[in-house]
């Protein structure tokens, strides 16, 4: 009897020890990966904060002895106009494409009509295409349309806003449509019985429920437009009109700009989207998954 008890106790202890070891392995792996993901941030911050005397490639991993904002100052001086260009691009483009997506999502989810089943997949395909395959006609179109409009479209932020709103239609429509699909149709029917029309239903039933979808879409569009490079580099060739990603790429390609200024510049370009991620990470994740999962 005693020996069996002892054996059980031993087995339990062995199991406990194994579980403890498993825990150690789990945390060790998590910490190792965390260090891997944080490594580039460490290098950006540490070298961005060094003074010009202290910067050297052989001391990349050594923290600064004195903090200096020289590199950030210099990067900011060079990138500030482009940073503002990106703001002037992202704010209207995000606003407009959220609105368009909401309207489309409402129509596609609550006003079924003939052809919607064919139109929707055709719309979706538009968000997967490599934009290289529309780039040549796009440039031709923007040059051509600018002649007949009071504003230039090729080479300007206005043109880029238009481009991002148009190519944002598929993803914004998809997110809103999936979200509105969860709004009970009974609610819409009831409003219709009460005499509400197309706009009445949108204004009084749909819109008040839309806040979470608007946040998700706005964050998605904000992040992807801020980070976008291909349209920006093709459509704006004048440095004064270029968004920050293009300016950063030029800065990094320049032989005369110190590498720590490039790093400070990279951090500067990353700051707005990082802030959004830190403050609204939950919605950011939802946007990511919305683009990937069928709702």
């Amino acid at each position: 009897m005693r020996s069996m008890e002892a054996a059980t106790r031993e087995a339990v202890q062995l199991r406990k020890a194994r579980i403890r070891w498993a825990r150690v392995v789990v945390y060790a792996l998590l910490v190792t990966f965390a260090l891997f993901y944080l490594m580039p941030v460490y290098v950006l911050v540490v070298n961005g904060l060094k003074s010009f005397q202290e910067v050297s490639l052989s001391r990349m991993w050594v923290p600064p002895t004195t903090f200096s904002l020289d590199s950030f100052g210099k990067a900011f001086e060079k990138l500030q106009p482009n940073f503002l260009n990106s703001v002037r691009l992202v704010v209207p483009a995000t606003f407009l494409s959220s609105f368009v997506g909401s309207l489309n999502g409402y129509i596609l989810s609550k006003w079924r009509f003939w052809g919607a089943d064919i139109a929707f997949p055709l719309l979706l395909f538009g968000m997967f295409i490599p934009y290289q395959s529309i780039l040549i006609p796009l440039v031709q179109f923007l040059r051509w349309a600018g002649q007949y409009l009071p504003v230039q479209l090729y080479g300007t932020i206005t043109g880029l806003v238009l481009v991002h709103v148009v190519y944002g239609i598929p993803i914004t429509t998809l997110i809103f449509r999936n979200y509105y699909a969860s709004v009970p149709t009974d609610l819409v029917e009831a409003a219709r019985m009460d005499g509400a029309g197309f706009f009445g239903i949108y204004r009084h039933v749909i819109l008040p429920l839309s806040a979470p979808a608007f946040v998700v879409v706005a964050i998605w569009q904000f992040t992807s437009i801020w980070n976008e490079f291909l349209f920006a580099v093709t459509i704006t060739s004048n440095p004064a009109q270029q968004p920050i990603t293009v300016a950063l790429q030029n800065l990094a390609g320049s032989q005369i700009v110190e590498w720590n200024v490039q790093m400070a510049g990279a951090l500067l370009a990353a700051l707005p989207t990082l802030l959004v991620y830190i403050l609204l990470g939950r919605y950011f994740l939802r946007g990511l998954l919305a683009g990937a999962l069928r709702g």
Partner: protein
């Protein structure tokens, strides 16, 4: 009820501009690009005379484009396998009721919020053979692991894969974690009561249940990596002997730096074809599954 037809008309009228815009800017423009790719427009001045498949044939014979296709294949497959593997591992680790789960999750996912340009500029310095990671390995006494990274043609493309995995593996982690949280606990308990080891539980119950997640991740990461441009352009460009060149970079330089529009259009049509082969069956399958349920 009399007002219904009018409302329907408003709905169609408001949807029409979006459909028209996508119709023109996506499908019309693709059609125009296809037309340009069959023309002689390889100078600054547009020349749309018909050239047949000349541009495509020239591409197939070009050393650079052959390297591009090889690189795309190697990049996409390594990137996919590594991101899925790391993403799954991290998700499983985070699913073990660990302390500070939210902190770890945020650390793994934040690179997704960055631009490929930021990632490219940063990793270009980290993998610079004379400093960065090599320096760190030296100081840690692991000098034998040093590498010439993107300056060494046979392995150059893997340096770009490393940066891409750093940026995107958090995404697969998030997808798998969402999937894991959806697996019913009773199912796992039942298997454990029946004497299944943890390994068997993961291998025979959890992994099969996560197949839809894996499929979605392959579609999303796959189409991104088939058309990758910014990361390569910012980090390495074409690389030594086109060892990191991809169709996206070739298309951009040919078209907008070299004014060879027809050839650039042909490259972009092949890129579109690669992505379409991946995406169209997926869209087809999801739409059918969606309308059946």
């Amino acid at each position: 009820m009399r007002r219904l037809p009018l409302d329907r008309l408003i709905a169609i009228a408001l949807l029409a501009p979006s459909l028209l815009a996508v119709g023109i800017f996506v499908y019309g423009f693709i059609g125009w690009t296809a037309y340009v790719s069959l023309s002689n427009w390889n100078t600054f001045v547009p020349d749309l005379s018909f050239a047949g498949l000349t541009n495509y044939l020239a591409l197939m014979r070009s050393f650079r484009f052959q390297a591009d296709l090889r690189n795309t294949l190697v990049f996409t497959s390594t990137f996919l396998v590594t991101s899925l593997g790391i993403g799954f591992l991290l998700a499983v680790l985070l699913d073990q009721r660990v302390r500070g789960e939210a902190v770890f999750r945020n650390i793994f996912l934040f690179p997704m919020a960055l631009s490929f340009i930021v990632t490219g500029v940063t990793w270009q310095w980290l993998l610079n053979p004379s400093t960065g990671v090599n320096l760190l390995l030296d100081q840690a006494g692991l000098g034998f692991l040093k590498s010439r990274w993107y300056t060494d043609p046979p392995i150059a493309i893997f340096s770009v894969v490393l940066a891409a995995v750093w940026q995107m593996s958090g995404f697969t982690m998030a997808m798998y974690l969402a999937g894991l949280r959806g697996v019913p606990d009773e199912l796992l308990e039942a298997a454990r009561v029946d004497g299944a080891t943890e390994w068997q539980v993961y291998r025979h119950i959890i992994l099969p249940l996560l197949h839809p997640v894996t499929l979605s991740a392959v579609i999303v990461l796959g189409h991104i990596s088939l058309k990758i441009f910014d990361l390569v352009y910012a980090m390495t460009g074409s690389g030594p002997a086109f060892s990191t060149d991809v169709p996206g970079v070739f298309m951009f330089e040919t078209t907008f730096r070299g004014n060879r529009f027809a050839e650039g259009a042909a490259i972009s049509m092949i890129m579109l074809l690669l992505v379409a082969v991946l995406i169209i069956p997926y869209l087809w399958y999801s739409i059918r599954a969606g309308s059946a349920s």
